[in-house]
Subunit: 393 residues, 2 copies
């Protein structure tokens, strides 16, 4: 991104951060607060009115019949579509411009079927939800989509996604735009969960990590308030970091001792089966823990320690204030987090842990959809990049 | 930092990024390119002329006796002071506004003496260099300082620095300003080395890690083109991450198996002494390697593997394009990097290493001073924050 586009996006983004509080402002006030030229503000205000993102507000004091000169953002003027695609299910939601979910629908859909059937389901579900709520595609300011694999965020294309056969370099925004002409933002599912969890529970925290523990293990990193994606969009992908305890345990990636091969839901279930306990999925493990099965509790605690071993390096490297543990395995509650804390607080430097909180996800299963809506809303509030997405589409 | 100040800094910073190429521009051109109001540009241009950072340029075409209407940055109009404070030595340099070092001086100074004697030496050395080059403190646009410990960048105060007794929460900018009224930026030494190395060798790389291997081991992380400091300013502090091989080896931090206890210069020397080889410092190890001592070469290679073990997690977490290995131990050459590469390329996922370069530092012993000058120059080019620093001082 050039300095130029940073400036443009920041300028307009700031204008909308100002308006987002619902307080009406004049063009002159917007120009003064942002340092943008009045002519620039006028053009952008017109553009955003045309897009329906802001709305004129009648002046409190009559100005003698002149047209309204104040503007405020109108959360309900447009909606965003928020999508969470998992390995075997998907959720599509409609949210307003503050990111509040208005309606949503979850369905069984196998990501391994490839892009055509999954995206057809996505577009049909989104269209149905829009119709049900009396909206149409022209009311959609942007669509945010989380997928279970690495994504080149600038193009919205998955890159070598291991559990998404047929999706490598598939142009998701391009395909969707043939059926629904809206700006489409695509990101890794753990990244959008980080956005969602932070917006729900830790909006003021600038250095934040979200850890998803489920079939896989990954993290979404927010540093200085910005999502960190890395050079190839795979920052935070800690599932294949080696942990000390696992030297002999093969991972499906071809290496040995990967975190995922020890501490993911299926890995814990496998370890319990080896002890003669009936457990086939992460969900079975959660059920066993909830029924008080001691072996399952011990296995989950050990998984927490393994995750903590890797997070210790993450803490040294990123120096976050908050680490939130989410994903389906987090439903086991404190047993998993206790293992994480045990290792991180033992191994990290006192300075790194003095102000560090390690907590359960609050947004829980809603983190991804809320994050996808945040991704779309942030985009809708920065029309330059929005226009760029339109042009690309 | 509020959205407001980001906007302001970006606005002016962009204005100067434009002017920095040396091409003269008019106020109207600057307003058009930045989207800032003409009145805003006029105020900022005046302010920066007053500070001597930009200079009027005679118009190519005569405008009939009117005063010059074009402006360009003048690299020599002001200087910055760049300072690298190590454990036992310090370097002070004078650089121009492009970051080019004009003169420098290195001295033996023990950081453990505490702030007063070290900063007295710093100010006296800076003053002497300024005088020698026919400059005075009023010519200094900003001073950048790297120190060997964690720093709260916003206040310039070291925070619990382990090898800097007496410096905890010491107000370095405030003390210096009593003797030299210039804006003072303080950062961790590895962070400024990352800035310096990137500006010398990898200016276009947005995701960059610098690893310093010396008496200690630490990293400076640049992600999305921005230095990552973390919540307490200690991001990148990987010296006390545990490595598998070191379970029995005590570290001076009180833990066992820390990377620094195995792979730092003194740690390698200690391991060689245990084999009956005369080596007391990291410098002795470098000498042995350069003389072709097989045991020393093997020890350095193993240290590289230990560092690689930790960097593997860093690669998964940050997804950098380039990792540069520097610090005094990097003088052993390829033996250290070979060990790092061996582990990182074996252990990381193919996607994370496909485009990853692991290379020797190019800036070498100049990385810190160049980085400190970059810190000062970046600040000098964003006068709002510069004024804020003046007000704080």
């Amino acid at each position: 991104m050039t300095t130029d586009s940073v400036q443009s996006v920041n300028g307009v983004s700031q204008l909308f951060q100002l308006l987002r509080d619902g307080v009406p402002r004049t063009r002159a006030e917007l120009a003064k607060s942002t340092g943008l030229a009045r002519s620039t503000v006028a053009v952008r205000v017109d553009e955003l009115m045309r897009m329906g993102l802001i709305t004129p507000v009648a002046d409190a004091v009559s100005t003698g019949g002149r047209p309204p000169s104040q503007f405020a953002i109108n959360p309900a003027a447009k909606v965003v579509v928020a999508v969470d695609l998992g390995a075997s299910h998907g959720t599509v939601a409609i949210a307003d411009l503050t990111g509040k979910v208005l309606s949503e629908k979850t369905g069984e859909i196998d990501i391994a079927l490839g892009p055509e059937p999954v995206l057809t389901w996505l577009v049909e579900t989104a269209s149905a939800l829009l119709t049900e709520s009396g909206r149409s595609a022209s009311d959609v300011a942007a669509m945010g989509i989380g997928v279970p694999g690495p994504v080149e965020h600038s193009t919205g294309q998955p890159v070598n996604p291991p559990i998404m056969p047929g999706w490598d370099r598939f142009d998701i925004p391009g395909w969707i735009n043939r059926h629904m002409p809206v700006p489409v933002l695509v990101d890794n599912d753990v990244n959008i969960m980080a956005l969602g969890e932070r917006s729900v529970a830790w909006p003021a925290v600038e250095h934040f990590m979200f850890v998803k523990v489920a079939t896989g293990i990954g993290t979404g990193i927010i540093s200085d308030g910005r999502l960190q994606r890395g050079a190839q969009g795979i920052a935070g992908d800690i599932g294949h970091v080696q942990v000390a305890r696992g030297a002999d345990i093969p991972c499906q990636c071809g290496n040995r001792g990967c975190l995922e091969a020890l501490a993911s839901g299926p890995a814990i279930a496998r370890a319990l089966r080896a002890q003669g306990i009936e457990a086939h999925t992460g969900s079975d493990v959660v059920d066993l823990v909830k029924r008080g099965n001691i072996d399952a509790i011990q296995a989950v605690r050990q998984a927490g320690r393994d995750i903590g071993e890797v997070l210790t390096t993450c803490v040294s490297l990123m120096n976050p204030s908050v680490i939130a543990i989410g994903g389906s395995m987090a439903r086991v509650g404190e047993h998993l987090i206790a293992g994480v804390r045990e290792v991180v607080y033992t191994r990290s430097t006192p300075l790194a842990t003095e102000y560090l909180s390690i907590v359960q996800s609050v947004a829980a299963e809603n983190a991804a959809v809320i994050g996808a809506s945040m991704l779309a809303v942030e985009h809708a509030l920065a029309p330059e990049s929005l226009n760029a997405a339109f042009l690309r589409a």
